[in-house]
Subunit: 373 residues, 4 copies
Amino acid sequence: MSARIPVAVLGATGAVGQAFVRQLTGHPWFVIAEVGASERSVGKRYADAARWLEGTLPAEVAALEVVPCTPDAIRSPIVFSALDSGVAGDAEPAFARAGRLVLSNAKNFRMADDVPLVIPEVNASHLALLASQQRVRGWSGAIVTNANCATTVMAAALAPLHEAFEVRQVLAVTMQAVSGAGYPGVASLDILGNVIPFINDEEPKIEQELGKLLGRTDGAAVHHADLVVSAHANRVPVEHGHTVCLSVGFARRPSVAEALHVLRSWTGDALVQGLPSAALPSLIVRDESDRPQPRRDVMSGRGMATVIGRVREDQLLHLRLVAMSHNVVRGAAGGSVLNAELLVSRGLVHRETGALQLATLSASTFARPESAA
Amino acid sequence: MSARIPVAVLGATGAVGQAFVRQLTGHPWFVIAEVGASERSVGKRYADAARWLEGTLPAEVAALEVVPCTPDAIRSPIVFSALDSGVAGDAEPAFARAGRLVLSNAKNFRMADDVPLVIPEVNASHLALLASQQRVRGWSGAIVTNANCATTVMAAALAPLHEAFEVRQVLAVTMQAVSGAGYPGVASLDILGNVIPFINDEEPKIEQELGKLLGRTDGAAVHHADLVVSAHANRVPVEHGHTVCLSVGFARRPSVAEALHVLRSWTGDALVQGLPSAALPSLIVRDESDRPQPRRDVMSGRGMATVIGRVREDQLLHLRLVAMSHNVVRGAAGGSVLNAELLVSRGLVHRETGALQLATLSASTFARPESAA
Amino acid sequence: MSARIPVAVLGATGAVGQAFVRQLTGHPWFVIAEVGASERSVGKRYADAARWLEGTLPAEVAALEVVPCTPDAIRSPIVFSALDSGVAGDAEPAFARAGRLVLSNAKNFRMADDVPLVIPEVNASHLALLASQQRVRGWSGAIVTNANCATTVMAAALAPLHEAFEVRQVLAVTMQAVSGAGYPGVASLDILGNVIPFINDEEPKIEQELGKLLGRTDGAAVHHADLVVSAHANRVPVEHGHTVCLSVGFARRPSVAEALHVLRSWTGDALVQGLPSAALPSLIVRDESDRPQPRRDVMSGRGMATVIGRVREDQLLHLRLVAMSHNVVRGAAGGSVLNAELLVSRGLVHRETGALQLATLSASTFARPESAA
Amino acid sequence: MSARIPVAVLGATGAVGQAFVRQLTGHPWFVIAEVGASERSVGKRYADAARWLEGTLPAEVAALEVVPCTPDAIRSPIVFSALDSGVAGDAEPAFARAGRLVLSNAKNFRMADDVPLVIPEVNASHLALLASQQRVRGWSGAIVTNANCATTVMAAALAPLHEAFEVRQVLAVTMQAVSGAGYPGVASLDILGNVIPFINDEEPKIEQELGKLLGRTDGAAVHHADLVVSAHANRVPVEHGHTVCLSVGFARRPSVAEALHVLRSWTGDALVQGLPSAALPSLIVRDESDRPQPRRDVMSGRGMATVIGRVREDQLLHLRLVAMSHNVVRGAAGGSVLNAELLVSRGLVHRETGALQLATLSASTFARPESAA
């Protein structure tokens, strides 16, 4: 593929926006053509508008002029949105109406019946909702969302177990990195040498999104998984990487050995195999007694893998385990880019123009390679 | 009371030993007469043997010569033991046989049927076991233990709820401070900006001790509370203060309002009221949405209070809450000293000689002042 | 003294404002009668306007209504100002014109010829400038400033050496706590596990203020000390306590022993001896090879002492040493309160009304008790 | 080059030893054939003997059996030594006598007249000492040392300025990462939220080594640079990356613009250009006011670059600046490997056998490519 599809990043100056810039720089299929941000930044060079947080600002993006986050100002067929929920509610549908594909990180549309909430390795088939979304809303474009960053860790870790044993009860205690709060985000006076046992609006998101992510779709709607989630969300003085302690109950109680076998032989990631942003394996089970650890494991699979450890029996429910992944890469920007890559690879987005072409959607579009065998 | 009882600290040079020195310096009833430590330190001045970690080393202790941890070398009637479990197993019974009262922080004897495992506000009445302990073991002295530092947080928070609604199920996820591992303890390369989702041997302690702490005694043995505990233990980059996220199920489901009322009106601490090391109240319920926090709340009640917050419904069990206390003060040295103070105040230890006098033990010894009314 | 002088705190909701509230709560001479803050907070209860950062908000202040920072709205004769330099430039003179005594932490007036820049132990005599300040400016009140928090550490450590050997050259490298930047101040994403080798506008302050602090006054102006200062300011992930590495050259080169003797026998603090906020000694020289350390030493003298260590020869200049003190207590709120206490104790402020009464000012007002002997 | 030279790592299980393993895994010229460690580890698989600290332990090294650090047990012609100074004093000469090339990180031989102390970009020509070393000591092998990790930062930053303006006075204040102390190294209780203003034996190393590194050689000895160094060494809670604040005086005072021009146009790294471990450029000057920062810049040039910032005038000496590099990569393992690569690339080590062949050494061996023009 010679030409790359022009894409835009909305909310490009914030922490997640910058993660999009890092994820998309040098991408083989996409090229950042436009960067959108708020009034304050419009008209400035990106290098002047963004306080660059990590690594080196790519030269080809540095020189772009920041434009408003409207479909008039931005012409790219694909827009990656790092907009806050405060503005995403109006801005993202405007782009969808204007025929663009929006890959959203905001919470606004995640729980809508006709909006896919997707982690490709977990529930790629939910993208089939897009046809009904266009129909229902009368859009020529579409919105695809990815999950809250803490929910993403859990869903990736539980998907194989759910497939095999049906998850019914989940008790999740998160220890979340400060980058999850954006920039400037958490004040150092609040978190140095401290734990904050509360993150605003986080527990409800975790409790609602997991059932949708692990649910099944008939193409028109998602039937949420029949499970109960109880979440405790904590902030800890870690830069990147959300760690989650999980106690899980199942419809069919697995032994630890069975659970480990399922986790290690999972083929959910077969569908994303070979995609530019995919980690292979996307799930890493570590044997050491004290892993995963965010500082040491967060860059596994270039930040796109989910690392699991300490799978053991639970006195109360059935199994306990620890899961961890990169909240900004896997849990935000990288997840959105992987969603876009999947749509391209499945033929739902034109490889050169970037135009949505949902007519090709069929029952087998998201069938796993293995099941074809 | 003019004269103070001479006491000894065993394992005096380590982190908990130093906490004993801080806790006992200027104590109105006790005076540190002897400090014991391992071979390596014997014969040195305490100031030279101990790498002092916090605040200023009290002058009256600095000059003491370190002696071996044997009842021959140490003559005090009361010994506070900060010994590691590796040596406590032999050393502590030797002192008990020699007629001394041992206040132990080691795990070795905590779960023995005839050894009280005591948090005074929670289960002072378990001290009645001492009479049977002397009988069974033929000791003229005795061993009293206090609980693991993470269990202590949980027991203090759950005791009022257990009394009112009977705790049946506890899911506990701890975020524990580095001081819990002693000194040098956790390497900075392991914990800076990191979470370690494992603490050796911690989860079993939590799961076993809680039932005994919340159990009832007939004087001869403890009938453990009928509850199931599942624990996930984590180390976080916090200096002092173990934070625990709890999901709890009860025999009788309380509303959040009922639970808060019980926690706020609890009188378990009436028995320790006025003891030199007691915090009043010993239980603090905070209203803010983001408390307790270890760095900000750990010194509540001079480190002896347990701070509770975020009492709310649980989707899975009945209630969720967060509890935190100082692992070295409340969870170790301060707890032992409070146990000793209680024995003195109840007349089981002679106020001047420090001798055990269990003959005075009766059914009303540990009756709460209120219940007398 | 039965009645206490009513005082106000300006900028009371910020980090330094809160430190004033802590410092003044329970003060034997002063009582917080009024709290002033910006438009946003005016009309709210203090408890609702301030996000309380440390310890427990005192009940008597919690209920105060926040008022605007103007001499009309605030009637107290003494105002402690934690205002930002952006507003202090107008607000503080307004109070001075209205006859109030302003104890300021802002940089605006520190370097003005007729404004005393005072650390009581170092240069109490500079307060004599107040008479000329009133004359020159036509104010019935006055402004007294205290120094930048990093300069304060250095001045307190160098004053005795300057008195004995005349400081000529100072190379200072600071490692400053995050609380020095206020709240929310430094973003955790910027400082966790990091060093930021720059603090905006900090180096010029250090380089200018030190000469004034160590200068002499004839009552009309300050003759700055004849010294050159070069500063490197760094931010480190420490909560409280600015640590400064100093290389110092003198007019007369002292040996290490001579320097230590001077530091240990210094009587500069005799004048503040017995004042409610004074630490005695105000200068602590530690012998250990690895002190002072901010986390361990910052609360020395209830946060009002300056801790010095590692006094040793310097290959390049004459001496090297390390100094550390609490940037919010010693370096800001506590310093201002100590300035006010000194004025009261010297009779320049009426003990009951709080009114300035500079007529009593004489040559001996700030003479050290010792020199009188 | 098809075959790779077999090499050994001495002290392979420690923090620097592990860094060697990372640096050498996948190396185009060298292959780890042997790993040596202390008695305790001998006979174990490397994977079992080493507590792996960072990233993933390479499979090809995991299976190696740990052998003793003697030339009998280890046959490789090139040995990279991460031995402590306690054992390096005997072990390293044993290898040199046995004809091996030792690349040492220990301090033992750094200051010996006939032992090159080398940072290739700074003083590659000092390697010419090896001929005289073999002659004087009667060795068929040789020892090459690299500098202390804090000195390395300074030397790399100052070399261009020394070349142009002759450095005469250096005042250095370091803020050093915990990894510089090895593993377990610094206790978390000592450094969390703290600064330790002392590192044992560090200041003398800095003060002695810099003059040798910046000195000139006639092939027989090194004429140390005529400069005075005063160092203050501090430990800060940073994982990797030593940051150094420098005030520098010169024989010829440069303007800031001249200094920046020299730093930016420096060609010292021309000699290492293209070597597998070399960063190009090896010196990075950043324009931002608040850089370098260890967490953000430490991996510049895959950890082999030195990052400089804040070049500005100094009131006291001539210039101030901040320099930072990776203490384990650039300052230890990577530096040693680069030394070995340079010897191979200059023909002093046989490309296939790894044998030393100093006969080819001539005046032009280390001439910079540019100077030939």
